[in-house]
């Protein structure tokens, strides 16, 4: 007899439907599996046979053929154990064919017949929903993840027997209720109020977040660069439902979702060590998986000790940073992962780290210049703001001054971002950092006075064309924080403070 079951597989962070066909016929007792299978899929035959036996279903020796179609898509992973076993039971006549129609099954089996959790469920489920498949049977551990897609009936199965009895209508399982999505911003254990003093640093960070500008911190070890970077997600607006789905898919594909975790609600903060390889940062592998840059999607990628990263790796980030996605091509096809991130980088101002504190820094001018040259010009071009950080004094650290909390800052950020969204909608971008260069002038609405100032600043600070553009983009964000329709001179005055040039002019402090 012949049977057909729906299942799915992954291609990058997108799902694809796979049909599992099983046929049982007279002949020599063999178990044949075909359909462009990876070895872990091929091994399913042994797991399935044993699991079925241990669950109490006897398979009389017959010629079994299993085909996973379409035959030209490579099948990987362990999600096919459950669909194959159900297809077999249907082919053997244990389950009537009409009971398994239009139900998508995913899941790995243990030899005892338990259904084990798998990775990459959400993208498959999302795709299935778009194909009008509404009923799903999944591993119990993956039920939360799948139930976030509206309009689906999701059953979380713990073992094979439960699935069979459910399909036969003997003891139906409880469908997983869809959790109500709430935009959640609380729940961070850290807050901006933890950072004492550092008013310039906070101001620059607020501007950077408001316009999703990449920011570079320059300062000695222990000045609080990482401390503030870790708190950036706390002042970002809550993830929207769509953003959350996109992000959760990436984590699902990488197998980084916990069993009780549905959608990811917190903006990610990723802080890879500087020894990271290109594949781990950008994404890669034989079958490409998303890298850190994608795991930070809609959040913050923090590169501490920026200059210690391999130069070629940093260079590789240029294109993804600009496009908001990364495409990796392999023999089996190309894979696209989203990576719409805010890049935050931190570095020391000199080899010893203490410049410009000349009581501690004895680096010579050539040493410092050599050190700063390690970062390439094109990479600096990707950063919009620069701020130097200083070690705090005792008074600042233990002063009684009440610091602003993340919530207050976040409200301002949300307002500024809402303004940008409205203004930039016709241009297909969301943030000031993404404004195309040829649209910048019309979006800034400079008056006569401002244009004169722009020329003055351009000449005084010897800005490059790109540098000047960035100052104007930052000024645009400052104006948005100020709820000002046009960019005024005082916005430009402030923006030029954060310019990405002349870090080093040879003057130290005592």
């Amino acid at each position: 007899m012949y049977s057909k079951i729906l299942s799915g597989t992954l291609h990058g962070v997108e799902g694809r439907l796979i049909t599992v066909e099983a046929d049982v016929s007279e002949g020599l007792p063999v178990f044949n599996m075909v359909g462009f299978l990876a070895s872990e899929v091929r091994e399913a035959s042994e797991r399935v046979r044993t699991a079925l036996k241990n669950a109490g279903y006897l398979l009389p020796p017959k010629r079994i053929t299993v085909n996973l179609s379409p035959a030209d898509v490579r099948k990987e992973g362990s999600v096919f154990d459950l669909p194959i076993s159900i297809a077999l039971l249907a082919a053997y006549g244990y389950i009537p064919a009409e009971c398994v129609q239009n139900i998508l099954l995913l899941g790995e089996l243990s030899l005892s017949g338990d259904v084990l959790g798998v990775r990459g469920v959400l993208p498959i489920v999302d795709f299935a929903r778009k194909q009008n498949i509404t009923t799903l049977i999944l591993p119990y551990d993956n039920r939360k993840e799948a139930s976030v897609i509206p309009g689906l009936t999701v059953y979380g199965a713990k073992d094979l027997k439960q699935v069979v009895e459910h399909l036969l209508g003997q003891s139906p399982m409880q469908a997983e209720p869809m959790p109500r999505y709430e935009e959640k911003t609380e729940g961070f254990s850290i807050d901006f109020a933890d950072v004492k003093g550092q008013r310039m640093l906070k101001r620059a960070t607020e501007i950077a977040v408001s316009g999703m500008h990449n920011i570079l911190y320059l300062g000695p070890p222990g000045a609080g660069k990482s401390m503030i970077a870790k708190r950036i997600p706390t002042i970002m607006p809550a993830l929207s439902y769509e953003e959350s789905i996109e992000l959760t898919k990436i984590y699902s594909v990488n197998g980084m979702l916990g069993a009780e975790e549905g959608l990811i609600r917190k903006r990610p903060f990723r802080m890879p060590h500087h020894s990271i390889t290109a594949n781990a940062l950008i994404g890669g592998g034989k079958v490409p998986k998303p890298g850190e840059i994608s795991l930070a999607h809609h959040g913050v990628l923090f590169l501490d000790e920026f200059l210690e990263f391999q130069k070629n790796i940093i260079e590789m980030m240029r294109q993804p940073l600009e496009d908001g996605e990364i495409t990796i091509s392999r023999l089996q096809g190309s894979y696209t992962f989203p990576c719409d991130i805010m890049l935050v980088a931190a570095m020391n101002p000199c080899p010893c780290g203490f410049y410009p504190d000349l009581t501690r820094c004895h680096c010579t001018r050539p040493q410092i210049e050599h050190y700063l040259k390690k970062i390439s010009e094109p990479m600096l071009d990707r950063m919009d703001l620069n701020i130097s950080v200083r070690k705090m004094t005792y008074e600042e650290l233990y002063g009684m001054e009440q610091e602003e909390c993340s919530k207050q800052i976040r409200e301002r950020v949300i307002r500024a971002q809402a303004i940008q969204k409205r203004r930039l909608a016709p241009f297909g971008v969301r943030f000031n950092s993404q404004i195309p260069a040829n649209r910048l002038d019309e979006l800034c609405g400079l008056g006569k006075e401002e244009e004169k100032l722009r020329k003055e600043l351009f000449e005084r600070y010897q800005l490059s064309a790109r540098g000047a553009g960035k100052v104007m983009k930052v000024a645009r964000t400052i104006a948005d924080l100020d709820a000002s329709e046009c960019v005024k001179s005082h916005h430009m005055w402030e923006a030029v403070t954060y310019r990405m040039s002349d870090f080093y002019q040879g003057g130290g402090t005592e």
């Binding site: 003093g197 550092q198 008013r199 310039m200 640093l201 101001r203 320059l218 101002p349 410049y355 410009p356 000349l358 004895h362 010579t364 001018r365 050539p366 210049e369 620069n386 701020i387 130097s388 200083r390 600042e396 003055e456 600043l457 005084r460 400052i478 005082h490 005055w493 402030e494 030029v496 403070t497 002349d502 870090f503 080093y504 002019q505 040879g506 003057g507 130290g508 402090t509 005592e510």
Partner: protein, 369 residues
Amino acid sequence: MKTEDFYWYWLNTISGIGNRTIGRLLDRFGTPKQIYHTEEREIASVLRTKKQQSAFHMSKNKAPVIDSYNNISAGGITFLHPDSPLFPERLKTIPDMPYGLYLKGILPPEEKKTVAMIGARSCTRYGKEMARFFASELAGCGVGIISGLARGVDGMAHVGALEADGYTLGVLGGGIDQIYPIEHAALFQQIEQSGGLISESGPGIQPVAGLFPMRNRLIAGFADGILVVEAMEKSGTFITVDQGLEQGKEIFALPGRLTDSKSAGCNRLIQMGAHIVTGVEDVLELLQIDNTSRPKRNRPERSEEEIHKMSLAPLEKMVYSCLRIEPKYVDVIISEVRVAPQEVCMALNQLVLCGAVVETTRNYYAIKL
């Protein structure tokens, strides 16, 4: 090439034979020409090592000497010896006078008053700014500024003199064509064009540490007065001061704070009797420079009146009054004026643009003298 130029150049370019040995040879045999024609057996009694003797023997071939002389002349380098008309008179009286000098650019006129400005290489911004200020004002009054083109005080003294379109002479430790430190490459070029570079060593001689004390006696030799800008208690600066004292030059020093180790050397000099300098006129008076042109400003800081003239906005004035010569981090300024960061930034950048303030490093600000 005159014959005497040839003999002097030959004597100065024999490897292994330094200034002192030349002095001994001249004492014994008279002129370079006579040395050249003296029998080598006799010369050997003055040259102590075998190496020197064989170098002397090898050097007698005329053609390479003439070639090398023509080469340096073509490169814009003038070779000076005690018999050449250009040789500075002031160096003839110093102990251990040099017998050969290499010059790019021009020497200070004999009647021109000169001040050597010296100090630490790793100096504070205070030291740098003082060096620049005094050099610029003195040069503006027609005083030639002599220094050693090192990092820190030396370099800034040259910069100051150039800013005032004055004369400045750089005395080098290494060979005349050696640019050291490399970050002063542009400064070397400027000085060569409007002032002079001089060295006791010919082209190709590396600037090794041992050459610098010798260089210092020339700095002192060229100067009528020596102004120590900033020096630690133990400093190479004192070599120059000692040489200057030996040569009978006036010593000046800028006072510093007692707690500031970078100024301890200056304070010690004052204690020992150096002239304390609190304004440009102190130097001018002591060196009896006729004050036809007065310094534009006697003291480095801007007076109330000058600040008033800058017509600053109230916030700018407030921010300006927080700033010092030593750079301050922007957060410190913010907490001192108690105004929002964005407004402080704006005031600071406006002050930078109008030239009253400089940003010494990112987000560190200091007043500009």
